[in-house]
């Protein structure tokens, strides 16, 4: 079992869903264009054209909106796979209580 599997298995599904909603809300602001039809399975880079920089911007905007602190130490390319994988990473790497 990898570190990420461990984190994922400990994630509260309700929190993950809430994060998926917040990411969906923030995407138009970060990508500076209209974004529709986004689900947890939407590919951030391949389908939406998120770059590594806009991806990081999304994570930091998420922190501000939810007033949370997220550990970015282990944040890797795979975590930006889909909206759901990013929500899962964030849910498993909160430094403050959600």
């Amino acid at each position: 079992m990898t570190e990420q599997d461990t984190a994922a298995s400990a994630v509260d599904p309700a929190l993950r869903d809430r994060l998926v909603d917040s990411i969906r809300d923030l995407l138009p602001q970060v990508l500076k264009r209209e974004v529709t039809g986004v689900t947890a399975d939407t590919a951030l880079m391949d389908a939406l054209g998120l770059s590594s920089t806009t991806g990081l911007e999304l994570v930091l905007e998420l922190e501000e909106r939810l007033e949370l602190e997220i550990s970015v130490e282990e944040l890797g390319r795979d975590d930006f796979g889909t909206v759901g994988s990013l929500a899962e990473y964030v849910a498993g790497n909160l430094l403050t209580e959600a």
Partner: protein
């Protein structure tokens, strides 16, 4: 096989917070926050009153291996990230060569691999010396530039440049540190302003750099677990964390000490980090290590060299 007879480096004591170049270049607060929080950059080295000649001179003054061997130096190679490092008609490399008794040597610049040009210059120096067939012949590889233009201050979305220099004395063969293998991958297809290609570059960056490292290590007849340390280019911590994930190599064994305090010292990073590794006792006799760098600009280069100390 090419050998490093001596390695010296100089990073000036001056520092500026990354907010200073970021402000001058018009970066947003969010961009600076990403550099600090995620890329773990903090300060960059600056020599506000000095010229490139001063940086190179300071590195050469620390190259003890050169003393008494000046007459044996056949070539002086200045490895550059940028083709133009001073305004015309200044020629600081030739000036320091005259000052240090190297006026007789053939002096030229090596570039086109951007920040990986330092490794290219080591390879070129070794090949030139080997072709000459003079067992006593030496070459000097100089690295270091001034962050004197907007382009030479920032690697977009990646890093800030810091000032410093290194001097490396190279022989065609010798006991230490022996170059075992060199691998470099040139990606001319990234020579475009197309945003899709820029995204693709970001996507493949870690894999390509990891692939250059594994190629050099395999050509040296080694496995990654044999590699004691990696001496990286100092672009940022997160890029190297991703390379380590791809390689399955412990990030603690990549010398990232200088990333937050010097910035990306052009082609000199691996040599600056060599000195840091030596000061920390991380280079052990008989143990292999790797120098690695990626260069981006017009196209991209991913390079790695395996050595034994």
């Amino acid at each position: 096989m090419t050998a490093l007879v001596g390695v010296a480096a100089w990073v000036p004591p001056g520092r500026v917070a990354i907010e200073e170049p970021a402000g001058r270049l018009g970066l947003s607060g969010m961009q600076v926050k990403i550099f600090r929080r995620y890329h773990r950059l903090g300060e960059v080295a600056r020599d506000p009153d000095g010229e490139l000649r001063d940086l190179l001179r300071a590195a050469l003054e620390r190259l003890d291996a050169l003393r008494g061997r000046e007459h044996l130096v056949r070539y002086v190679l200045h490895a550059r990230t940028f083709p133009t490092v001073v305004p015309y008609p200044h020629d600081p490399v030739r000036q320091v060569c005259e000052e240090f008794g190297l006026g007789h040597a053939a002096v030229f610049a090596v570039g086109h691999h951007a920040c990986a040009s330092g490794l290219l210059a080591l390879d070129a120096a070794g090949r030139l010396l080997a072709a000459d067939g003079d067992p006593e012949g030496l070459a000097l590889v100089l690295t270091g530039e001034k962050a004197f233009t907007a382009e030479a201050r920032l690697v977009p979305d990646t890093s800030f440049f810091g000032e410093g220099a290194a001097a490396c004395l190279v022989a065609a063969q010798g006991e230490r540190d022996r170059l075992l293998a060199y691998a470099t991958e040139l990606r001319g297809d990234f020579d475009t302003d197309d945003p899709e290609t820029a995204l693709e570059f970001q996507r493949v960056y870690a894999d390509e750099l990891a692939s250059a490292i594994t190629a050099a290590v395999a050509r040296a007849g080694l496995a990654m677990e044999d590699v004691g340390v990696i001496l990286p280019h100092n672009v940022n911590r997160v890029a190297w964390h991703q390379v380590c994930r791809t390689l399955g190599y412990p990030r603690e064994r990549v010398v990232l000490d200088n990333v937050a305090t010097t910035g990306h010292v052009f082609c000199a990073d691996s040599f600056v980090n060599y000195r840091t590794a030596q000061d920390r006792g991380l280079l052990r006799q008989g143990e292999p290590y790797v120098m690695a760098a990626a260069g981006a600009g017009r196209g991209a280069t991913f390079s790695a060299m395996a050595f034994v100390h």
